[in-house]
């Protein structure tokens, strides 16, 4: 599965009343700096951003989500964020969580020339992969993007998933293949990093709590 078909079962099961939009090209990253999920952005009634994209986990719904939330922790953060949204809904521009345009710009994600270059490599990698499968040139551009912007997790998840799907013949036979984020035992892993190593590097406390290989014991 690819594109909207991956999201469709979830969108239909949720039967939400809000629009559900598909971003296959990482437009939200290029335009607003969304580099991981879940991230949330607030836009006011005039079309002005009042909080730039920031990490924000929703309150868990359903047994699996509750278990995952317990594992990852931070339930207070989740509740605090929902309270912030409610405060903005009630108070609008007077909410202390609604930021001025200057604050929005300065609090948006850093973007250097290297980040722009990473995005260009990633877009080429995606284009080549969709067009002709997981080629050497696609891998070259994925790895270039990963090296230029190591903390962009979506660039990595997409690449790992693309490789795993490619190696299983273009299919996701068990429904889990597309989640591949670390090499299997003895698997040749052509990327410059993997999920476990990145967690240890960027979120050492969480990596320790999840007892990932290479994490410092706490």
């Amino acid at each position: 599965m690819a594109g909207p078909e991956v999201a469709r079962p979830f969108v239909e099961a949720a039967a939400s009343t809000h629009p559900s939009l598909i971003d296959q090209t990482h437009y939200m990253d290029a335009r607003f700096g969304v580099t991981n999920i879940p991230q949330v952005m607030w836009i006011d009634e005039t079309g002005t951003i009042v909080r730039p994209p920031e990490p924000a986990s929703p309150l868990p719904v359903g047994e699996a989500a509750v278990q995952m939330a317990e594992l990852v922790g931070r339930s207070e953060e989740r509740e605090r964020y929902v309270a912030m949204v409610r405060d903005w809904v009630a108070n609008g521009a007077a909410s202390r969580y609604a930021l001025s345009p200057d604050e929005v710009v300065s609090r948006s994600r850093e973007r250097s020339p290297a980040t722009s270059e990473a995005a260009a490599h990633f877009e080429l990698a995606q284009h080549l992969w969709r067009d002709q499968g997981f080629s050497e040139r696609a891998l070259f551009h994925f790895n270039a993007a990963h090296e230029l912007q190591p903390d962009n997790i979506t660039y990595k998840r997409q690449a790992y998933s693309a490789l795993a799907i490619s190696r299983s013949g273009g299919e996701d036979p068990d429904g889990w293949t597309r989640f591949r984020q670390v090499p299997g035992e003895g698997e040749d892993w052509p990327f410059v990093s993997d999920f476990n190593r990145d967690m240890v590097r960027f979120q050492p406390e969480l990596a320790a709590r999840l007892k990932l290989p290479g994490a410092e014991e706490t």
Binding site: S20, W42, E45, P113, A118
Partner: protein, 110 residues
């Protein structure tokens, strides 16, 4: 944005990047970056806006990265006009929600 030629038209550039080419320069909402006069040129404009241009020589393709001018992902807080496809492929314009608060939640099922 991916292109197979470098003589991109200003309208094509605007549709892909949100930067509109005007007499005063490349503009997004209230922000305008001077382009030094003359006709529109992709490479010059990309350089002024801090957009990387990465070639794929095997396929005669180039990818143009997003602007890095100002060192931030957002050059402006304006988000009045952008659109993404909904599940059935029809474009949804965020501007159609004007007058309401909008919470944009990025998620993925993987």
């Amino acid at each position: 944005m991916i292109v197979d030629h470098l003589d991109v038209a200003p309208q094509e550039f605007e549709a892909a990047t949100g930067w509109q080419i005007k007499p005063e320069g490349a503009c997004k909402a209230e922000v305008c970056v001077p382009l030094g006069g003359g006709g529109f040129d992709l490479l010059t404009t990309a350089e002024r806006l801090g957009m990387a241009v990465v070639p794929e020589p095997d396929r005669d393709l180039w990818a143009v990265g997003p602007e890095s001018i100002g060192g931030r992902a957002l050059a402006t807080a304006d988000a009045s006009d952008f659109s993404l496809p909904s599940l059935d492929g029809t474009p949804f314009r965020i501007g159609s929600l004007r007058g309401q608060k909008v919470l944009v939640v990025a998620w993925a099922p993987y």
